[in-house]
Symmetry: C2
Subunit: 526 residues, 2 copies
């Protein structure tokens, strides 16, 4: 029997406040620090590890967090989720994105079909299409191969797939699996579509229209923009477009598309990278095998997220430490800092995944909660961030918890030795240096050169950013967010906060306004 | 006589806490809201306006802020700055970036030269080089024109110039001033340089190496990477590279470069977009005339920042409202949300400009301050952000102040009518709707669909994102940051917080480590 209760009703939460806080600079000094680095590590899939040595935890804090996990039945809640419980209470839906990459529990039947089979079938259909495009069975009207794939989508239909594409683009190039360049059109700003169209050869481009409902205004507008460009080039749009949508959407059976692939209401947009939403563009860009490896990495990491022992469950542990930082230590923001240029847009994807899931003030039953919930998430790749906002992270007046990601090897293997080290060694040396600098600080009589330290971070370390490693990373953060939602007792799978803006925008466009809405409309000449 | 004093020593600051806070949802309702939109607006350069109707201010708050500006001598401090006072107390340097685009006050002579003349001379030399590249006087060894310019730099030598390039790329294309595509290499991650090199034709590429000191390790490493690629292609690197550096740097007189252009110690990296750091790449990409228009826009906005009346000084007013939000209302983060895809990296530039300038805990004399300083800055373009993190902005447990930017017209002029409106109208309607939704909220018996409102925002509205408008925008935010630094009594122009990481990274690379530093080095196989 699962008890869905608010964080502040638990005994373990109250006890967390009684545990002595950890002095990070102190515990990370000397050999004790080295011991922590060796000990405070949890294996992840694809040869990675989640190292939390530089977080403000010790045995007492971890014991209290384990108690919280048990009292809040976190593993049981995940089990209920993947076995098909209606976890999305607001929209009364199941939450099945894990099933796009594996079967963690029992079979789930909905809409008359086994859902795992349904997702596998869609993946296979996409693979068939991608192979036909790659081998020239499907071509443009002139019989020439498509060279570019352009995804048209916004939010979850854009951020995740785009971040994953950028993460694997160079890996695919050096591993001879790079098939087609991908581009993305998302913003309703007409300069977005016009700008992308100015850089591609539409005659050799295939477009992937992604909208679950088939009614997303931004996406339909951009589709129209692209269709006009195709027609102006004397081309038949229906020979250049595929759709990823739900079976009940107006796009599903339309002759306007070469093919349509399906998702369903149990896959939230921000959790759709492993469904056809990411599958079509990634399979076209890199081949279906690469997309399959990506799914395997995610599936392996999902399995780890089932562990009841928080010390063997990196996602749950990461989630609990985050809650401790947010609700007990009072930190408001979290930075995600991948030391990998390929992950340049991974923080932007997590920004949506996290902030849209847990940026809420009511619990899963619609009752206001009395504690803070999801933090602000931001980040840029290191070393770039070091030359940008790290000043504030080191010496600002607020403490910002950090999540580093680093790899032992680069993706492309091209490197140069300057001052006796490779670029990859410099990159890794920098993330190591930063973790210790943030944790330990530095005394200095000149207060301008003094570093207080005590600034917590974790690092996920991997061998190389491969498709499997990327899948595992994605799963880790998705499951971390899910577990934090469970702790805060939120429904992490709806997004009612985006509705009001949509309603008011329609009123503005219909000139059905008064007061400030009218005055701002005048200001912008609408 | 200027008194450099801490914020909490002023009378006006204490009085600010006594002013009744504004109930934003209440004052923005009905015709009062419309009146605020019309009244709470300050003209900016290039036909823009800073509208702060949806900020938590009223006549009383504004009066208190005006008093604070006067008591803290903000305008006088700016005057001292542009007249050559040593404002960068830590490094004992003047702060002259305004002079790269105009002469606000008296002549400033340093290093034996009039600084305004020096910056103009560099701009002219860059213009000459750019014209020669464009008209084919300077070519590759085969006598063919260069088609691509690649900036090699990090931090301020990357973020600002990159954001400005992206902001004007499409504008230049439709205004027939687009000369060369620009690319950027910044990260020491070898995949960054290798990835960019994989997408360009090095034979027709000219590289701009940017490092003030000439010793930035990331940049020199990437230079070496690029030189190897040029040599491997049988090319002479010295015929493909120019340098932007200080006159005393090792790069200044080197035969390794086609030409060298100079900046100096009075231009901080994050304030260098209007110097040769931005000038070389932007003049090559778009022509010197476009860069000159950009400077004119910045110069015009700088002039407005001289006004003592806060209601006629958008940068100072914006700064003061931000301080009120940060120190009195207690908000920790600020989001920058341009409704313009062209400004996609403008928030990332502001993230550096703001967080590196004011993310400090000691005042300009090196004494700890007893109040919070610079906020975390993040942002993405609208409408994309709406489908991402706006959920938290609307319904999260923390209030995040917002800075919108919008334009009446798109840059490229290509558009499509769907459901009776253009994309540009939809874009503008969305920003209008968001401002009102954030401010006013919405009652709903279903708490999951309830919006509390009271979430403050401002908007900068312009006709179109032209080079002049972009310059004005950049100036606005630079001067806002400067004024906030004055209020917090910080030295906004050094960055001692980046030093410790550099020192420790060197130790790691030299294997001169123990404790946690050694353990993390082992973890990453360094």
């Amino acid at each position: 029997m699962i008890n869905w209760n608010n964080l502040d009703t638990t005994i373990a939460y109250k006890e967390l406040f009684d545990v002595a806080p950890v002095n990070l600079a102190e515990v990370m000094a000397g050999e004790n620090g080295a011991d922590r680095v060796k000990k405070y590590s949890v294996p992840m899939a694809a040869g990675m590890a989640f190292n939390y040595a530089a977080k403000q935890v010790d045995e007492d804090v971890l014991a209290a967090l384990a108690k919280l996990a048990e009292e809040m039945q976190l593993a049981e809640k995940f089990e209920a989720l993947y076995n098909g419980a209606v976890i999305n209470t607001g929209e009364k839906r199941m939450v099945l994105h894990h099933m796009t990459r594996g079967q963690l529990g029992q079979a789930v039947v909905a809409d008359g079909v086994d859902k795992r089979s349904f997702y596998v079938e869609q993946q296979q259909k996409i693979a068939e299409l991608a192979n036909k495009v790659h081998n020239g069975e499907i071509t443009n009207a002139a019989g020439e191969k498509f060279t570019t794939v352009v995804q048209i989508g916004i939010g979850g239909s854009d951020l995740g797939p785009r971040a994953m594409y950028l993460a694997l683009e160079n890996w695919a190039k050096v591993n001879d699996t790079f098939k087609m360049e991908a581009k993305f059109i998302s913003n309703v700003d007409p300069d977005d579509a016009a700008g992308v169209l100015a850089t591609i050869d539409v005659e050799h481009s295939i477009f992937v229209l992604v909208s679950k409902s088939g009614t997303t205004l931004e996406t339909l507008t951009n589709e129209s923009f692209v269709k006009d460009a195709l027609k102006n080039a004397g081309l038949d749009p229906s020979k250049h477009m595929i759709a990823v949508t739900s079976e009940t959407s107006p796009l599903a059976k339309s002759d306007d598309y070469l093919a349509a692939f399906f998702m369903d209401d149990y896959i939230g947009g921000r959790y759709s990278s492993t469904s056809g939403v990411g599958g079509a563009v990634l399979s076209l860009a890199f081949g279906p095998e690469v997309f399959a490896q990506f799914l395997e990495g995610a599936a392996a990491e999902d399995k780890l997220a089932q562990n009841k022992d928080i010390l063997a469950n990196p996602a749950m542990l990461d989630a609990l430490i985050g809650v401790y930082e947010r609700n007990v230590l009072g930190y408001q923001t979290t930075a995600v800092l991948p030391y990998s240029q390929a992950l340049s847009r991974f923080p932007a994807h997590l920004q949506q995944a996290d902030m849209e899931s847990n940026g809420k003030s009511v619990n899963r039953f619609g009752e206001p909660v009395n504690y803070v919930t999801g933090p602000v998430i931001f980040g840029e790749p290191g070393t770039n961030g070091q030359h940008s906002f790290y000043q504030l992270l080191h010496q600002g007046t607020d403490i910002i918890p950090l999540q580093f990601i680093g790899f032992k090897n680069s993706q492309m293997g091209r490197d140069v030795v300057i001052q006796d080290s490779t670029s990859q060694q410099k990159l890794s040396a920098n993330v190591v240096a930063q973790i210790v600098a943030f944790a330990c600080g530095k005394e200095d009589a000149d207060r301008n050169k003094y570093f207080a330290g005590g600034r917590p971070s974790s690092i996920i370390v991997g061998e190389q950013l491969t498709p499997a490693a990327l899948g595992a990373l994605l799963s880790h953060f998705e499951n971390k967010i899910m577990y934090q939602g469970f702790v805060w007792n939120l429904n992490s799978f709806d997004q009612e906060g985006v509705q009001l803006g949509k309603v008011l925008a329609k009123k503005v466009l219909a000139h059905d306004t008064d007061g400030a809405l009218k005055a701002y409309s005048d200001l912008l000449n609408i």
